[in-house]
Amino acid sequence: MKLTAKEMEIVEILEKDSRVAVEDIAKMVELSVEETKESIKRLEENKVIVKYISIVDWTKVEEHPGVRAMIDVKVTPKRGVGFDEIAERIYRFDEVNSVYLMSGTYDLSVIVEAKSMNEVANFVSQKLSTLDSVLSTTTHFILKKYKHDGIIFEPDNKDKRIVVSP
């Protein structure tokens, strides 16, 4: 889908904050509210805007179970389908949050989310490493999130400017 300049601006605004009111977006991009609504609808229908979600810092929620691990996976690619088949085998598991094909010393980077370390361990030992094409796995647990998808989790947002200046 080719975006107009105005649509591009709308996407940029919503990407930063999906809760900005349509009326305010309309003012910022100099369109009418109706036109803005239509543009957003078009963006949604074409899946340019896929979904509106919240970025949650679960570490703030007391007793919230949950761990996240990044697993480096070495695999044997198969003739004809390369890495795609094994990648699909892996990403179909509900525990798997993301799968990337990587350059470098291993092939697939798999991000897994689970309730406990034990659950991740079970996933790796019982589901992941038992797949035929998987040669080896190295699991890294994430200890703390500082920045995620461009969002700093505890930013210093204090306005340090003096209140009135020339």
């Binding site: 940029e12 605004i13 910022m28 306005d159 209140v163 009135v164 200046s165 020339p166």
Partner: protein, 389 residues
């Protein structure tokens, strides 16, 4: 600071008017929960890679003086920047001086060109320091008023009417603080024509040049035949979000630059070394952030100007800078009353227009260099304030 007069203070300084901004600063500084539209600087922090390069310069021990005119590498970057961005060619070795903010650039320019009694035409409403800087340099500031009905653009006839035998220069600021008004190439040409006709200099404060939203920016020095008549003042504060670094620059002919350098070397020696290293990084790699900031200001300008007009404060569409300058005449209050009552009743700080000159009366300066959430809340409060009158 209390304003008491000392017999030790010179008559010249005693007679300087204190800045009207000061009073509002004192008033607002003591209050809690104030939303400030009174800030004349970006809400962005200097991009990290620029800050990092200053830190790195300190780590490497670059803590000594630089040449008076600034690091040659920085002047070369400035020359490249002025050429590529604004199509003006300056020689890094002969025509560029790195200064302590644009303010000191204007100051040394005034001290360099003025003999006692020489006149400088200052277009108001304008930055609060122009008139005092002319006076401190022994000159006489002749003020002309850019009017609301002309979207705060000065007309050549108005300028011509006040040009006298003693006129040395015209001081211009486009995009303007406080009105946000930007002069088009055509309008600059008309003023340039006068400068040539009466053999005047133009002191062009182009500190907001990066922040132009609708039209491409034209520098006064880029107008044909004007480079040799222009003292171009600019810097890193606004476009690159580097106000606290205090770093500007001034470009002019080799002769004028050489003379300005005399003043600069005795008064200031050189600009801060670490700030100069930061500025090199800003010019080399800062373009993506500048573009992002400009985009963001533009959207906020659109939002605030439309919102002001909706709530009954008539506001022209400013072509640049980050100020909206709505009229508050419909409220029946003058700008000081409006700003003071708005601050006390609703906790929104704005700057009354009259502090920028008589023709600013009946207006308030609202900086939209603040987050959209704050702008939304400010508009809500201003509306409530107007409705309560």
């Amino acid at each position: 600071m209390k304003s008491t007069k000392s017999t030790y203070v010179s008559k010249l300084v005693n007679d300087l008017k204190p800045s009207g901004i000061r009073r509002f600063f004192d008033l607002a500084a003591g209050m809690e929960g104030v939303i400030s539209l009174g800030v004349g600087e970006p809400d962005f922090v200097t991009p990290w890679h620029v800050r990092e390069s200053a830190i790195s310069s300190l780590e490497q021990g670059y803590t000594s003086y630089t040449p008076n005119a600034g690091l040659l590498e920085l002047r070369e970057e400035i020359a490249y920047y002025m050429k590529s961005q604004f199509d003006v060619e300056y020689s890094p070795k002969e025509e560029i001086i790195v200064t302590v903010g644009a303010s000191s650039a204007i100051d040394i320019a005034m001290r360099t060109i003025l003999d006692p009694g020489d006149e400088v035409i200052v277009v108001e409403p304008c930055f609060v320091a122009y008139v005092p800087m002319v006076e401190l340099a022994g000159g006489v500031a002749v003020q002309v008023q850019a009017l609301k009905e002309n979207d705060f653009k000065i007309l050549p006839d108005q300028l011509e009417a006040v040009i006298s035998e003693k006129t040395k220069a015209i001081m211009l600021c486009s995009p303007n603080n406080p009105t946000g008004t930007m002069l088009s190439k055509h309008e600059l040409e008309d003023i340039a024509h006068l400068a040539k006709k009466y053999d005047l200099l133009i002191v062009a404060d182009e500190i907001y040049a990066e922040l132009a939203y609708d039209e491409e920016y034209t520098s006064m020095a880029a107008i044909e035949g004007m480079k040799e008549r222009t003292i171009l003042v600019s810097g890193f504060s606004k476009g690159f979000a580097m106000t606290g670094w205090r770093l500007g620059f001034v470009c002019s002919t080799p002769e004028i630059s050489n003379a300005m350098l005399k003043v600069h070397q005795y008064a200031l020696m050189c600009a801060s070394t670490m700030a100069q290293y930061a500025a090199i990084e800003a010019l080399k790699n800062g373009r993506p952030e500048v573009d992002e900031m400009v985009k963001s200001y533009r959207r906020r300008r659109n939002y605030i100007v439309q919102s002001f007009n909706e709530i009954g404060l008539e506001c022209h569409n400013p072509g640049g800078a980050f100020y909206a300058f709505p009229s508050i005449k419909s409220t029946g209050l003058n700008s000081q009353e409006f700003a003071e009552q708005l601050l006390l009743k609703e906790g929104v700080a704005v700057v009354p227009g009259d502090v920028f000159g008589e023709s600013g009366e009946g207006h308030i300066r609202c900086s939209y260099a603040t987050s959209l959430e704050q702008l939304q809340e400010a508009v809500k409060r201003i509306k409530r304030f107007i409705d309560s009158l």
